[in-house]
Amino acid sequence: MSSTSSTLAPDSLALLGRQLQRARRNPALLVMTQAMPVMLLLFFGYVFGNSVSLPGGADYRTYLVPGVFVITAAGGLVTGMLQAAGDTQRGVMDRLRTLPVSRAAAPLGQATADVLLFAIGMIPLVAVGYAVGWRIEGGFGPAAGAFGLLLLLRFVTAWIGILVGMKLGSEEAAGQLGSVTFILQLLCNAYVPTAGMPGWLQAVVEWNPLSSFVTACRDLFGNATAGAADAAWVIEHPVVASLGWSVLLLAIFVPLAVRRYARPAEG
C-alpha cells in the first residue's frame, strides 16, 4: 500500500494536467459552462428581479449574485458526472486501472482540475456580478472566506459527480441526470427567500446543503438580508453548517468514489 500511496501526488498531478489540457483543447465546453450562470444571472436578475420583494427592501440582484455563485460551484456535480461517465464509456478509466497508479489519483486529479477550472471561470462571472450592481460589502477577509467556501463546494460536488458518473457509465445518461439536478437549484434559497414558502417546503429548502452555502456567502460578502425569523440551525449558522456539510459529504463520497474506481462493478 505504501508504495502506491507515495505516488498519489505525482499521479494526481499528471491526471490533473490531462484535464487542463482537455479544457484547453476544448474551450467551447468551458465557455458553455460559464455562459449558463451568466444567463441565469441576467434572466433572474432582470426578468424576475422586479417582481420579487425582499424583506427590508434589499436589492434583488445583490441578493441573487451570491446565489448564482453557489449554483455555479455546485455545477461540479454535472461536470464531474459527464467527465467520469465519458471516461468510463470510452474505456479510459479501465485503461488507467491497468496502470501502476495510486487508486485515488484519477478521481482526485479530476476533482482538483475541476476546482481549478471553476476558479478560472469565476473571474468573468464576478465581473458580470459587478456589472449588475453586486459589491463585496463585508471586507476582504470574509470575502476570501466566501470564495474559499465556493471552491470547497466545487470540490465536494465534483466528487459526488465522479462517483455517479462512474456508476452511470454513459454520457447520455449523465447528461439526462445532469438536467434533473436543476431541481436542486430551485429547491434552495439562491433565487428566492424562504420566508414566503409553506412551512414544509421551507424546511426542505433550508436543509438543502446549497442553502447553507448561499446564506454563508451572502453573510461573508456582506450582502445579508434579514432572514426568516424561525430559520433552521443550518441557516442560522451558515458557515459552520457549510463546513459541516462538506466534511460529511466528503467523508461519504470520497471513499465510495475511490472504492468504485478501484473495483468497478461487473455484470
Binding site: R18, R25, G91, V92, R97, T98, V101, E266
Partner: protein, 332 residues
Amino acid sequence: MTSSYAVLSEGLEKNFGSGDHRVEALRGLDLAVPEGTIRALLGPNGAGKTTALRILTTLSRPDAGTATVAGHDVIREPAAVRRAIGVTGQDAAVDHDLSGRENLSLFAKLHRLRGAAGRDRADELLDTFGLTDAADRPVRTYSGGMRRRLDLAAGLISRPRVLFLDEPTTGLDPASRNQIWAAVRDLAAEGTTVLLTTQYLEEADQLADDVVLIDHGVAAHTGTPAELKARLGAYAEVVVADESALSAAAVILGPLTGSEPVIDHEARTVGAATTKAELTLPAVVRELDAAGVPILDAGLRRPTLDEAFLSLTGNTTGSRTGSRTAQKEPAA
C-alpha cells in the same frame, strides 16, 4: 517453476448475470504462456477472450481459479502485476481531446518516466508507428487505424515484460495490420511476452508461437499454428448444378472426408472438413463425377474459423454473436 511462465492460469471461471440471463463467460480456463513467446487466444465473438484478458490485467476478478502474471498473483498482488504489464484494449481507449503526443506523455508520466526520458520514449514510439506527422493533432482527427496504433504505443511506453492485446488488428487495413504485426514481432524478439486475442486464423498463424482455441470459455485446443492447421486439416467444398444433386454429393463426401457434410441449399454447396492428409482435389472430383453428380466448382482449402470450430468443438460460432455487453460501445 512458475517463473518460466509469464502468464499462468488455472481453472479460471467467470459468470455474469443470474437466472435466465446468466452467462458462463469462462468455464475453467487454463493457460501457460512461456516467457518471451507470443500466444494467441483464437475464438469467435463471445468466446470469453476479453473476459480472460480483463482478469489477467487486474480489471476483473475471477469467480474461481487462480492466475499469475510475471510471477505475481493477479488478485493478491495487482499493483505488482500492473507494473509488469502493458495493455491495449479492444476499443482504442485514448483521450480523444488530447494530441497523440500528449496521450503518450501522460502515460509516460503515469509510468514514472519523467522529463526527457518520457519525451524521448514518446518520440520513439510515435516514429515506430508512423504517427510523427500527426503527433500534435487531437486524436479525434485520427483515423481508426491511427488510433489503434497510438493505443498500442501507449501500451508499450513502459517496455512491459508482458503485453496484452485484445484484437489488435480488428477493423484495420492491411498496411496498418502489417505495421502492428511487425511491432509485435520486434517486441517478442526483445523478450517481451505477448498474449493477444484474435478472431483471425491468419493472424494467429502469422504471429503466434502457440495458439489457444477458446470456445465457450474453455481452451478447446492448444498447439502451434502448424499443429492446429494439421489438426483442422482442410475443407472440401463442391458447388452442384441443381438442388437434387446435393444429397448425392453429401453421400459421396461423407466417407471421403470422414466427417459429416454440411449442405447449404441456397448456395447449392456441400462442404465437409477433413483431417485426411492423403485426400486430394482430383480424388474428390473423380468420385463425384463417377457417381454422376453434376459439379460446377470444387475446392479443397484451409477451413475458416467458423468451420474450424465446427469440426473441433462441434459448436457453431454463431451461437453467441451479438452479445458484446462486455465492452461499452465506443462513442462514435
